[in-house]
Amino acid sequence: MADAPLTSSLAALSRFFVGDGTLEETLSRVTYLAVDAIPPADFAGITMMVEGRHRTAIFTDETAPEIDEAQYNSGEGPCLDAFREQQIRRIDSTLADGPWPQFRLAAAAHGIRSTLSVPMLVEKAAVGAMNLYANRERAFGDDDAETAMLFASQAAIVLANAQAYWDARELSTGLSEAMQHRAVIEQAKGILMAAQGCDEDTAFDLLVKASQRENLKLRDIAQRIVDTTIARGPRTREHDAPEP
């Protein structure tokens, strides 16, 4: 049955729970499933934005990022076009003349003879491009392009969900840590307000100045004030309050 690889890959995709792994692990699983779903492909990679730059961040073979580097350096290539223009891009023979000559050269030098790049779209926005590589010419037909597009759309949703999940988790972790720091800083400000008879903003300014003077993190200064005050115990009087 021609659709068996696609069906099994999509079924595996539907069982994804992104919390099972990191975003990178999830994307890697998506990419391996893509190769399984499209038999002519020997390996695959995903072009996406990483820290403001296009990169092949995920791949099933280390050759993929080596080839793709040619298009990121030149700013031209089928993966970039698929991503930017949200269109399927196919090279039937990297040995023939055509668009993206530097990419063709790099691919041919690595034994790749044909490629297929499809955009990964979520609500009309591209979140990346899936790139498939084959070591024979004219490996990908129109049916493969349709299959790749169908698979990529499913993979894009997984990508978007995974990104949203990990963004939310990172935000939650960051806020939790921030609240721990905040508690210590608020305690230190309270100690300084009591000791100096100043308002909250002035107490914070004292922490800022101490942090700059000693080239220490403000939260470390605050922790030191709290620790010193606790260590002094109930004998602490106003003039005994620790200096920030």
């Binding site: 820290e51 935000l171 960051g174 806020l175 840590e177 921030a178 609240m179 721990q180 720091h181 905040r182 800083i185 608020e186 400000k189 903003d201 914070f204 300014d205 922490l207 800022v208 100045k209 942090s211 700059q212 080239n215 220490l216 993190k217 403000l218 939260r219």
Partner: protein
């Protein structure tokens, strides 16, 4: 607010150098106290409105603690430091 342009420039340079997103800085600043809303921070970072002295110092402290982790010594000036610089 006489120091607004200097404050905005100092914060924008700090944000750019830190690599913080608005959300990342908002989370970091939450650890330093003061109720800075995300939308206010976005406006301050884009220069749409100036930071108050208290907001400036909280954001500068959050940025400087981040830079301290990278081995830098408080590159973002506090409001008081900006006020002391010669015009």
């Amino acid at each position: 607010m006489p120091l607004s342009p200097e404050s905005t420039a100092a914060l924008q340079q700090g944000i750019l150098a830190s690599g913080y997103t608005i959300t990342g800085l908002w989370v970091a600043a939450a650890g330093f106290g003061g109720p800075i809303r995300w939308a206010d921070l976005a406006d301050i970072a884009s220069g749409d409105r100036p930071a108050t002295p208290a907001e400036h110092n909280i954001l500068a402290a959050a940025l400087n603690d981040h830079f301290a982790d990278l081995g830098h010594d408080h590159p973002v000036a506090s409001w008081q430091e900006l006020a002391s610089f010669p015009a």
